[in-house]
Symmetry: C2
Subunit: 341 residues, 2 copies
Amino acid sequence: MPELRHDPIQRRWVIISTERGRRPDDFLIDNEMPPGTFCPSCEGNESKASPEIYAIRPNGSSADGPGWQVRVVPNKFPVLKVEGELDRHAHGIYDAMNGVGAHEVIIETTRHELHLAETPLAQLELVLRTYRERLRDLLNDRRLKYILIFKNYGLAAGAALAHPHSQLIATPVTPKTVALELQSAMEHFNVKERCLFCDIIRNELDQGVRVVATNDHFVVLTPYASRFPFEIFLAPRRHRHDFAAITEEEIRSLAEIFRDSMRRIKIALKDPPYNFVIHTIPNRKSTNRATYWQTIEHDFHWHIEILPRLTRMAGFEWGSGFYINPTAPEEAAQFLRDIEL
Amino acid sequence: MPELRHDPIQRRWVIISTERGRRPDDFLIDNEMPPGTFCPSCEGNESKASPEIYAIRPNGSSADGPGWQVRVVPNKFPVLKVEGELDRHAHGIYDAMNGVGAHEVIIETTRHELHLAETPLAQLELVLRTYRERLRDLLNDRRLKYILIFKNYGLAAGAALAHPHSQLIATPVTPKTVALELQSAMEHFNVKERCLFCDIIRNELDQGVRVVATNDHFVVLTPYASRFPFEIFLAPRRHRHDFAAITEEEIRSLAEIFRDSMRRIKIALKDPPYNFVIHTIPNRKSTNRATYWQTIEHDFHWHIEILPRLTRMAGFEWGSGFYINPTAPEEAAQFLRDIEL
């Protein structure tokens, strides 16, 4: 059973997950994706993968067989596990809890070689709908405080499989990064009665220099204080706090601008490794602090962060929490805007 | 001039440093250290490096010539620059300031191929004394809030040069990571009138399972909530808040246990890439909040964090602030303890 541990100095939670290799020899570093041998995510190989949690099967095909368009399976090496009690406890002077949660793999297509930037819009809409449906389902589990959807593409971005996939990890504490965003947004709202994210989006649309693209429902920016070169912030133009409540119209609009953004990055940076993460609200059902949830729909704003992995974290970054970004966000935005699609 | 920018959502400062390359082609990723051609850090090549800021020259040799034992030069591509005014200002809805600070390279030896784990103790003591002297000198600059000493070893840990070197970056704000440690330590002290770090060290010495080594003055632990496999925490056993006040006796003791730790890591993990950082107190002279400084000597405790770079940060870690550590710290400590030196 993996374990969550809290560091009283940095005040952060760590997952101790000893099943993923732990001997020194397990860490020999290699920068190549493993050669394309057998792929358990390809259509026809379902029996070699874990039983599916969810799938889109328009022709009524059977679970764990071919005929799917998007398929969700448990991660074979889960960071957190669905079974078990949370068991929050003190461990001497420290704090701990069991590694209860969920870790799922969203197989985005049957096509092994398909890049997100080349995915047909109808297929990308299915993927986004799958995100929404998995969120809605998992939000019923009151042990889960937060559900983070993310993608790792390329070995340097932490991908272990070549087949197009994203992942979902549900955690029994609200992640530090999200908690800080919620706190910032709440304090901003308390003073101004405005959403911090709405203020930023309006400012950026007025200024224009960091805008990469817009459409009816969404805006794509390079953040003013981007951590990474060519970092992208994608958010609804209007105030929306909950990804699980995304409408069909918004999904169509999001698929369009999301693929557009991925194309710009792929062309500009020659198919770089990247991560993306979706930040939405925590699970309302997981806490009794009802007063808090009365405000969150006004002060938080869901968004997607797309992070090309072009720079390395080194001692200074680890030791300080600073990031060194060698590209001005205004220049990154200009470059991405100017890409011919 | 590089620029510091503050992100109002994550509440972190970012350095926009456009001089380090910024076109997409500048980011093509390579995992090999560049082949050993001309080395400006080797003895005899001083004229090809920047003029020295500090050097240990026991034979009275001239600055910027051979005859040194340890040499400190400005970084040729500084992240922050010594010249200029801080100029804190608002930029629309955002906050900014100039990238004033310092970025120095500490050349640890004349011997190009020498690993820290093989460095003679007398030489390592010179390096540690150099750290202390550079701290003492820079602490006179009231613009500098913090001075972070760190080392990057190996390309995956962010090293750009093969010649043994560490670095120092002085920043005009207290880094987020350090500020959080200071806050945690202060809040602990406010309640308990004890140092948080002293409490942890005592607990670990009592328990023993995460202790790697001890000597007269220092203890080496794997932290209870280690972020990384084989992460090491090295600290004075007795309460010491200020690295700049380290005594000669402590330097001798530190050199011994520090080299010992690096040897354990080098042998256990087959010469891995690593970072280390020294966390000491901020610059007392840089602020007028005198009341704060009356307590810091009681509540903070300097330490060194040694971080072998064996795992990759991926979407989940970036999006959540969680770290996934696949090795229990107790097993890491056991493994490192059992290494035959």
